[in-house]
Symmetry: C2
Subunit: 218 residues, 2 copies
Amino acid sequence: MREVFQQELQEVQERLVEISTLVTSAITNATTAFNESNVALAEIVIAEDHKIDALAASLDELATNILALQQPVARDLRIVVSALRISASLERMGDLAEHIAQLARYRYPDKVVKKSLRTTFAEMGRLDIAMAEKLTQLLTTEDLRLVDEIRNDDDALDELHVSVFDAVLGETWKGNAVDTVDVTLASRYHERFGDHAVSIAKKVQYLATGEWAPVGQQ
Amino acid sequence: MREVFQQELQEVQERLVEISTLVTSAITNATTAFNESNVALAEIVIAEDHKIDALAASLDELATNILALQQPVARDLRIVVSALRISASLERMGDLAEHIAQLARYRYPDKVVKKSLRTTFAEMGRLDIAMAEKLTQLLTTEDLRLVDEIRNDDDALDELHVSVFDAVLGETWKGNAVDTVDVTLASRYHERFGDHAVSIAKKVQYLATGEWAPVGQQ
């Protein structure tokens, strides 16, 4: 029985890595679609989000079945409960990548962002991709040095998010209302993507150290 | 043992109702603060969000302890797992109410929204409050008629959300970039608040009927 349980826990971990890999691919494609006005790539992100949703739902079923059949306690229980939360965050990160792709599709053949902010958004995309990659690595290896790296990436992302608003609300902003709406939403999507990555990283850290990151301080 | 367990399940339910009540109060005050530029009320919402966070964290601890000590199965297990998810959504709804209050505080003594859109935002706020109230009632009574009402409210909310973008992107929009950013964010916060309410309502429905709403289709 014990051996079956360890196999099941390993399957939970592998499935989280699988979903995180798909999320990384989604944000990578969404970022390219967004920066380069690549509508074909945007369509792929949008069409494939259901795969992330289905894998997250299936992982939730697995985790719930493990709770019912194996009745884990202590650290094993925390792993299964955390897996439920991590899958919810990964599913949401997939949605946010999809939203970024939708902005690219909507504005095609134009680019979503005016020239003055393109470097900023390219950097936000680069940080989101880096965080997603590190998350996959963290879920695979539990190398906790990655947690601090993810936090640092998120701090940089938050600074860029603030700088977008400074630019849009400054006197030199030449964008029309469409530009302003799109930039506001895109920046928000990137920022939330990063928040979820940090939230997951903290859960992995907690599993390794026993220190829980309280809800709302994530 | 069984009796203790039923008491614990009841406590989970009571705590969800308690958090939902605080969320209702937060969105009610945030909406008034936003519509009437009431900075004192905005400050209250912002200052009190930590209470929602703390109650959600404490409920998560209780639910995890129930899983460990009572090892529930079948419907009881689903209730506890669902409670974890519902508390996460309620916590997020509290954050969104806080974000709306922050917009009001930031723009004080001005109003956040230009005259042309004030009726729309008043209606969005009214719908969010109604959904939060119905959610509290649903969590208390499990009266499933409320689920459809909450869905209908959310459909109306989504229409208003679309109409905000139509207005901002139309030719008669006279707002500057600050107006456009604030209206975009506020509308998004209201819409996400409604999404979480529907997501919770579906989980309660599932507990009553056994029909699960898959992740990503919420």
